[in-house]
Structure formats: C-alpha cells, structure tokens
C-alpha cells in the first residue's frame, strides 16, 4: 500500500449505516418500549407521555400517511404535477414536529408534509404547490413554518440567519426562549450551504437544531456517495453536539428533538440530529427506485415501519382498543377524501396573477408587461378577463 493510501473506501453500509446504528431508540420495531436510551452525546433520553398523547401520536402518523397516499394517487391520476412522498418518514416528521413549542420556527425542505400537518397548516397547501397553483403560499409568520425550499440545502442558511435574529432579539435564555428547527436530507449534507450554515450557527452560537432525515438516498445515490462517516459525527468538526436517533421511532425522535430545541432556547447553541430512516417510496413520482435499490433492502426497512410499532405498543399496553384503531382509520379516510375533493375543486389562478408580487414596491417594467398582456388577452373574441 502506498504511503498515505488509506485503502479503498469502505463499503457504504459499513461506513454510514452498519453495524447496528448507534442511535437513540425508545420503541423497538416490535413495539417494545425501551425505558431509557443514551445518545452519542452521552445524554440519557426518555419520554413520559400520557395515554392520550400516545394515541395522539398514533393518530398523526396514520393521518399523514393516508394524506400522503392520497397525494400520490392524485399525481398518478394527473391531478398533481409531481409529488414528493414522505412514506416511511412519518415518525421523523411527527416526532420532530410535535417536539416544537408554539414559539419555535421551522424551515422545511419540500417533503415535510407531516411537519406542516403538526403545525396546523391546511394539508392542501403542499398539494397546491405540487399541482402548480402556487408555490406554497401558507403564511410563514402565522404558522411559524417557512415556505418549502426546493434548492437543496439553501434553507439551512435562512434558518441559521433567523436563529441569529432570535439571539439579537434577546429571545434566548429562558423557558419562553425561541428556537429554530431546520430540516434537510442526507444528500443536502454535501452542499456547501449546509456546511456554511453549520459554521455560522456554531460561530454565532445560534439557537438552532439541524434535523437531518437520513432516508438513505438522494434520488438514486446511496448515502455512501455523500459521506464516509455517519452524518451526525460531522457536528464534531463544527463544534457542536451531534447524535443519531432512530428516525422510525416517533418517541425517540420526539425526545431528542425536544431536548435539543430546549437546549437551543436556553442558549446552549446548535445540535445536529440525524434521524436514521428510510424513504419507502420514490424520491418523487417521477422516479423509479427499482433501478437503484434491491427489494430485500426495502423489505428489511418495511419491518421497521414507524406506524406498526406504535400500533403494536398501544395495543399491547391497552392504550388503544380496536374501536380506536378503526376510528383513526376512518378519520384518515375522511380527511383524505375531503382533501381530494378540495384539490379537484381548486381553480387555476387567473393569468394576470403571474405578475403579482414580483416586487414589494412594484416595478414599472412589470406593470407595463401586465397591462400589455391584459390587452392581449382581451383581444381574443369572447375573452372574459
């Protein structure tokens, strides 16, 4: 071996995933509750939920999976241009989304439909985006969830700047302090912006939690194309704690996210959480995952399903009975039906609205183009604009 040659890169799974991921887990795939679990940061994590809260988490998980399935179906039927399914990542999104306190701010990618749901955003919002009616126009201030960001990793800097603003406003240091959660994926971890965000957050000691859903694939590229060490360990090099959580475990995800957010709001700076999960579906509806991954791998992850384990747990512990399970299924079905009806009834925007909001103060150039286009539209016989 030549001097300095460290040999061929280790096989990906050995590098980034196996052996057994060193993660925080409070609920096994079989639905066994683990009382306490120690993270890579040396901290012991647990949750103390009431039965009602357990049932609530189960309800969230089931409903968002059903809504997601409806959206996929709507795309297949030509009603959405494209859809980025969250299938398999429900626990990561509900666990982190429910860990937010009302004053916290979230910066999503374009797959955080479950987080939006937890924040009380009408589920039609991401669908109107993927239908092409708008670009995701919920009110980021009202719901404390920024718009979806399509450019991979760009939002991590926005989130960091927002967190810097929290510090400037003096809103850290107490229980009523504010914190930011910033979502991104394993692919984004290779982006310069994400690494710059880590630097900024560290240097300015900002109240932010970087929440990486490592769903193992960036479209077709497996995690070993992005990293030779587990992603959470990158935090070390930037000077803040990082840890990995079982992203298919809603309890553990909640526990670590809540703790990291609380640390942030109390002035203890950033944390990187790597939620170790799996994208059960395609990257988006335009993708064919059978071209780049094997069925056995998908089956392996299907056995770690985030919802089945919660159901097993609540049934075994007699937290929920058959009628509750049936009631949740019915609720999910009704919400999906309602969503479908509203998507189908969604009108196309008026052509002239394409000129709206290009600039806060307007632009004479845009105004002139709008006027000319309106005249052009009016020139068609029987036009009704």
């Amino acid at each position: 071996m030549a001097k300095g040659d460290r040999g061929a890169p280790a096989r990906g799974k050995e590098v980034a995933g196996e052996p057994a991921p060193d993660f925080v887990q409070l609920l096994t795939p079989d639905g066994e509750r683990i009382e306490k679990s120690v993270g890579a940061d040396g901290v012991e994590y647990t949750v103390d939920f009431t039965d009602e809260e357990y049932r609530g988490l189960y309800r969230d998980l089931v409903v968002i999976r059903r809504l997601d399935a409806e959206a996929t179906a709507l795309q297949r039927q030509g009603e959405l241009g494209i859809w980025a399914s969250l299938l398999g990542q429900e626990a990561a999104q509900v666990g982190s989304g429910r860990a937010l306190r009302p004053q916290d701010m979230a910066f999503p990618t374009y797959r955080e439909h479950g987080v939006l749901y937890c924040r009380g955003i009408d589920p039609i919002m991401p669908l109107s985006l993927f239908r092409g009616v708008d670009q995701g126009a919920w009110d980021p201030v009202e719901f404390k969830v920024n718009m979806y960001t399509i450019v991979i990793g760009a939002q991590t800097l926005h989130a960091t700047g927002y967190a810097m603003g929290i510090t400037k406003d003096g809103k850290v240091g107490g229980d009523d302090g504010e914190a930011v959660i910033c979502y991104f994926g394993d692919g984004a971890a290779s982006q310069g912006d994400v690494n710059e965000a880590f630097i900024w957050a560290s240097v300015f000691h900002s109240p932010i939690v970087f929440f990486c859903q490592n769903n193992q694939y960036a479209i077709s590229e497996p995690i070993e194309k992005q990293t030779r060490i587990p992603l959470y360990r990158r935090a070390d090099g930037f000077g803040f704690p990082g840890l990995r959580v079982d992203g298919n475990d809603v309890l553990a995800t909640y526990a670590v996210t809540r703790a990291a957010l609380d640390n942030a709001r109390h002035g203890q700076g950033p944390t990187l959480i790597e939620a170790y999960t799996y994208r059960m579906g395609a990257h988006t509806t335009t993708d064919d995952p059978t071209r780049y991954r094997v069925a056995s791998e998908v089956e392996e992850w299907a056995a770690k399903d985030p919802i089945a384990r919660v159901r097993a747990f609540v049934e075994k512990q007699q937290i929920a009975d058959a009628s509750f399970i049936a009631e949740v299924d019915e609720q999910a079905k009704q919400e999906a039906l309602h969503l479908r009806e509203r998507v189908l009834a969604m009108p196309d925007p008026h052509p002239l609205t394409l000129f709206d909001h290009a600039y806060p103060n307007g632009s004479p150039v845009v105004d002139a183009q709008r006027e000319r286009f309106a005249e052009y539209l009016d020139s068609f016989e029987g036009s009704a604009h």
């Binding site: 009110d139 400037k168 310069g192 806060p360 103060n361």
Partner: protein
Amino acid sequence: MAEKLTIGKALNAGLRRALELDPKVLIMGEDVGKLGGVFRITDGLQKDFGDDRVIDTPLAESGIIGTAIGLAIRGYRPVCEIQFDGFVYPAYDQIVSQVAKMHYRSQGKVKVPMVIRIPFGGGIGAVEHHSESPEAYFSHTAGLKVVACSSPQDAYTMIQQAIASDDPIVFLEPKRRYHEKGEVDTEATFPLHASRRLRPGTDATVLAYGPMVRVALDAATAAEEDGRDLEVFDLRTLSPLDLEPVYESVRRTGRCVVVHEAPSNVGLGAEVAARITEECFYSLEAPVLRVTGYDTPYPAARLEEEFLPDLDRVLDAVDRTFGW
C-alpha cells in the same frame, strides 16, 4: 447641510445614518468590523454601533447572503458587503434563487429588505476577480432591483434609500471612484429608481452609470471643443431601467451611445439599445452604439486600460453615429 466628501466617505455617512435611524439595520460582511472593510466603507461603524449590528462574518459569501435572508425574515434589514465583484458568485444561488424569489413565492407574505453592496468595475490595477462588472446577471433576475451610484451625493442618498426600500437591492459602487470628492447635501432628495440628466446637449445622447459616468462627462467636455454638444445621462437604476427621459432625449438628438465596462454581449447596453429602438425608431439617425469592455475575461492589469472604455472610445463611437 452640504459638505465635500469622497464617494467612500459619503457611503460611510449614509450607512451611519441608516444605522442611527433604524435599529433593525445590520451591516454584515467580511472584514467590515475592526478593519472597516477593505475599502474602509464601514470604517468606525462597529466601534459606534457594536459587533451585534456591524458583523464580521465567516469567510463565505453564500453564508452571508443566506443568513441575511433569515435575518430579514426575522424582521431585520441586513446590508451585506461583498468584498469584490468577482467574489459574489459563491452567493449567486442565494441571490438569484432565494433573495429574488421569496416575495413572489410567498405571494407577498415574506419580504427580504436586503441591500447587497458590491464594489464593481476595474481600473485599480488589481489581480483577477477584482475588477468585474456583474450587473447584467442581477439585472436579468426578476425580483431584484439593481442600482449604481456615481457621485458622493448619490452614494450618500441612494444607499439610504436602498436600505429603506422593501425591495431587495443590489447596490453597485464604482470602486475606482471611491476617492473622488463632491458636494453632499444631506437633505437632498431624488428618487432612487430614476435616471438623471447630468448635462444637457443637442447633438447626441450618451448614457452611462457607475464609474463610466465620469468618462461620459469628460467625453462631452472634449466633444465641445469639436463643436459637438452631447447630452449625458447617468442611468443610476439598472433594474428597473428608467428610460422615459432618455427616449425624450434621443427623440431630440437622434443619436445615442451607451457606455459600460461590462462586456457587450447580452449586456445592459443591448437592452437599452433594444428599448430605444422600439420607442424612438423614427427619430434615430443612426443605430444605438455600445462602448463596452470586450467579450473576453477581464484582462491582466497592464492591459486593463485597453479593455476599459475611455474618453477616446466614447468620442469615436459618437463620431460613428454621425457617419451613418
């Protein structure tokens, strides 16, 4: 109150006033703190306003612009300094895909009232990447406004107007003119997005902005000796362009020359020429001519005088409009 200031000092005074007037105004960039910026435009500001408002950032341009977006969403008004024109490109994605589109994407719910200050243009004998004129990239991007100052008065006034504006604005500063002095009336008012006639004339219209305004004015003085009376405009706002006063001028003179340091291909001059042709077609005695940098990368410093438009090249173009 009027006093004589350099462009650099006028920018400094304008920034100072903006910091005083609005506690949400922040300055951020590389070396803007203790050093006062490599051109000293932010000299003394950190000392007086603290490092919480005048922020030395890590050395990464995308990070500067990206975090400024987040601060703007939070309610701040960041003024970002990009150290040199050629260093803005690492931030290009954040500027073009995020800054420019936030308001549109959110249907008006999110504003990012940011100013991105860029010292631009050549003529300072620098190494590569320190002499570029990137205005066309940003002027081409809907959602951004782009302005260029050329005098101490405009430097003082326009920087404050840009900061007060809710539009995201790329603010171009003629770095080779930073040391030129002029009167600054601190009470002066003139709209930000308006071109300005600097010299009336009857024979041809010359358009310039930023560092080329001085060249255009000198050319007009020289042309006078040849008996030619040139009308000179400082365009000032590159996006949106304010060309109504220019159309009025060209309809009178019938001839127009547009001057910029940036290369000609798909540059500001092309847009200006196209619009003048559309609006003044029957008044034109000659095509609108462009005097620009060449369509090469910016050359080594010992060649930049050949690359940059100067008085003689402007007069040569004016001559050609008369020879048509």
